[in-house]
Symmetry: C2
Subunit: 485 residues, 2 copies
């Protein structure tokens, strides 16, 4: 934890955490946060605080913050009502607390005068005491390295993606969904009403954090537009910053106030400004996840030539449409590749094209492994998009024994030659009953294995093409900037 | 089967099927088609044909078509090589075969002169003999009512969706993926090169078929544009026709020739023409599936007022953006609903808005069931979009026992009052290992139960909003047409 070089980084990597308002009621936040930290193996000291309890989940409970032994508590998670926070801050001052995360809500976001005034008083008092405030009305910090978490069953290993989210639910879902696709995180911070620590400070922090290579953000509105955009321009020159700007419509603009007390501003102006400063702007959580998958697993790319393979004729055509609609080219296969095909099947050699319709090889001696080996030798492509064939009529057992391992080995082999690879693996809306049927289990396991090997996997060609295009756009801009220096 | 009133309908509902080129090799089509029909419980007589086999999968194998007892075979699936088809047709003539499905490929789609000529000869001979040809180069017919199938493990019950697909793989995947979302089918026909039975004849057939209420199609190109568009205009006045027009890009246009020997035509011209004739035009297989889900489970709608509920503030805002971006309005809640909320929680009554942020109710006595009951009494909304809350930090057991059943009952209750309901249920990229963890199993089972009860379920708000918008567009056009009569 001493590796943290910035003050905010140190605050978000505490040695000791007190959960004030800890509770034995399983639906309460005071219980939940205690569980999160226990279940994620928090590395430091953990102190639940509640005058009415003596123990919780095997931990000793303290009647108050000042009853905790030792002079210091680094980090406090406040799950008490808003009217108790001012007095809690007094105790925090006595224990030299560095940061208070206010899960506590119903403050400025209610739009009510009294609550807004209270939020102001809390902020003022914290500032006097030298205590930083995270929130109010937020889920706080996910820092897998120290075992701090804001939801159940999130990845325990850390990785290169840093995030700051105005929505706590959004932060939790983002970590969960991106985690399933292999993404791992340095820290993800849910910052809610941002009375103190805000989007600009967090962006600056992640931009300078050496453990963060990719930044993701969900924002509804910002406190100081100019400051934020300046920070963004600096950050985007160092590493990719993907922003989901919510509150685009009429309703959401009105709603942002009651969610996190933000003013969202005009959507079009915001989008243009964010893009101009180099942000990668996305429209929903799926796109945010896709983008982070792309930036995590694909190298910098500035060209748009794609080789598409796998699936029958229909799937190939729709895939080609999707890539072309995102501005990619599908150049012809090389003479060498055609010659290789010809040796195996003189009947189809001049007929195989990009996208490669895998169904043409049925009944020939040509295997997908051969093909992928040749593809890895091609030098006229910048990215290889591999569709996991599911539209063939092969029975599940043969598919599992033959096609799935071939696809897996092939994709990894192409990638091992330094070629960027994206895999497109679709799954239906399956449940436990289906998981044992048809090929679903094998498809899911093939995907898991690819993800474990660090391959970028997307559920559809459209989403793969869009995320890859935005990645190319980002690096092209960076390339142009570097040249103009 | 005698219910079929049209000649084509009768041909696609055979009493007897011969699989010519039946094989004991499990990767061969001759084996696969035999399996499909056995596994889907084909109701008629099934005759595998292969001079080198005596039995296959428990069935007697006949050395030739003419060795089959009785004077008639209704339907032949040809899995032999193209050079054997002309002589097969002679045998078909002797057995009074009505339709030959040519899985047999490598004909016109190769772009080669000789193969194109052979396809022409086959067509000519079949016509002379009074035999209809389905294909070549296609997967044939899925007709669950009689147990005819073109892939593994497709639904065995029938339903209101009819489809015609130029791509066989696309047809199989469509039935599989839409099937998982509760869609059932009258017939789905993969028609490949369309040397005889083509898109226009199939569209006319489904338009007049009383068992088909919704039509879905994947086309690359059409044989006779004017005829097809005329048929489309007639069909779209009777029932919704959703078309995935592939071959939009440069590559696909070139590729369509080698896939199913079609000329795709200029994309923009095609899209405009299809829309003008009343088709619902979509861009990929996911949208096609979504659209069929919407048309199957939602009633005709011509208004665009949506009530969005469920999920925390972030999810609600992003959902509101998605619905508004598709042209929907989110009107305010009624005074009555607010009054109901006020009785339970005077603190938040004037603060709850549309979209309803479910996280505001944490710690109040207000339940989601109360809320949904009130929503079902609202009369200022045309459609209710329910997000299954997943972004809360509740532990899996409480979520399973409380929120999931509440959501399910609530959505079904709103729907039972005649309100159109769409549910948005996201799942991550999970596999067998995850299915037992966190809430995944409960989420998947909640979705299955809703689907079983005939509710339209979508994976994201964007997809739900887009499909619903297209449904409203369709019925608005129909409404305007009816008024102008």
């Amino acid at each position: 934890m001493s590796e943290e070089s910035s003050p905010l980084g140190r605050l978000l990597s505490p040695d000791s955490v007190a959960i004030v308002g800890a509770s034995s009621n399983p639906v309460s936040a005071g219980y939940q946060f205690t569980r999160f930290l226990i279940d994620h193996g928090f590395r430091g000291k953990l102190y639940p605080v509640n005058p009415k309890l003596t123990d919780l989940l095997g931990l000793r409970v303290y009647p108050g913050l000042t009853a905790i032994p030792g002079p210091n508590v680094n980090y406090v998670i406040s799950c008490i009502r808003a009217d108790g926070v001012l007095s809690l801050l007094d105790d925090c001052g006595r224990k030299n607390v560095g940061l208070v995360h206010l899960f506590t809500a119903r403050l400025k976001e209610t739009g009510r005068e009294e609550a807004t005034r209270l939020q102001g008083k809390i902020q003022e008092k914290a500032k006097k005491l030298g205590i930083r405030i995270l929130g109010p009305n937020c889920m706080g910090t996910y820092n897998p390295k120290v075992g701090l978490s804001f939801n159940h069953d999130l990845p325990t290993e850390s990785g290169p993606v840093g995030g700051f989210f105005q929505s706590g639910g959004g932060a939790g879902e983002f970590v969960r969904y991106a985690g399933l696709r292999g993404v791992r995180f340095s820290k993800v911070v849910s910052y809610g009403n941002a009375s103190d620590i805000d989007e600009t400070e967090l962006l600056d922090y992640f931009a300078s954090d050496s453990e963060t290579r990719v930044i993701a953000s969900y924002i509804e509105g910002v406190k100081d537009g100019r400051k934020f955009l300046e920070a963004l321009a600096r950050a985007a020159k160092k590493k990719p910053v993907t922003i989901l700007k919510a509150g685009r419509g009429r309703t959401a603009t009105k709603l942002a106030l009651s969610h996190t007390a933000s003013l969202t501003g005009s959507d079009k102006v915001w989008h243009a400004a964010l893009r101009q400063c180099g942000a990668v702007v996305v429209s929903n959580f799926e796109e945010l996840t896709d983008q982070v998958v792309a930036f995590t697993f694909l190298p910098p790319m500035m060209e748009r030539r794609v080789l598409v393979a796998g699936g029958g004729g229909g799937k190939s055509m729709v895939a080609a449409d999707a890539w072309e609609e995102e501005g990619f080219d599908l150049p012809e296969l090389s003479a060498q590749l055609r010659e290789n095909v010809r040796r195996h099947d003189p009947e189809i050699w001049d007929w195989v094209t990009n996208p490669i319709d895998a169904s043409l090889f049925q009944g020939t001696t040509l295997t997908y492994v051969d093909l992928l080996k040749w593809i890895s030798d091609e030098d006229r492509f910048d990215v290889f998009a591999a569709n996991l064939t599911q539209d063939d009529p092969l029975p599940a057992d043969i598919w599992e024994k033959l096609l799935a391992p071939n696809f897996l080995q092939g994709a990894v082999a192409v990638r091992s030659k330094g070629r960027p690879v994206v895999c497109i693996i679709e799954t239906g809306e399956i449940g436990p009953a289906e998981m044992g049927r048809w090929k679903w289990k094998a498809i899911a396991e093939t995907r898991r294995e690819l993800v474990n090997q660090g391959v970028a996997v997307f559920p559809t060609s459209e989403r793969a093409a869009r995320a890859t295009r935005r990645l190319v756009d980002y690096w092209t801009r960076r390339g142009n900037e570097d040249q103009s220096l």
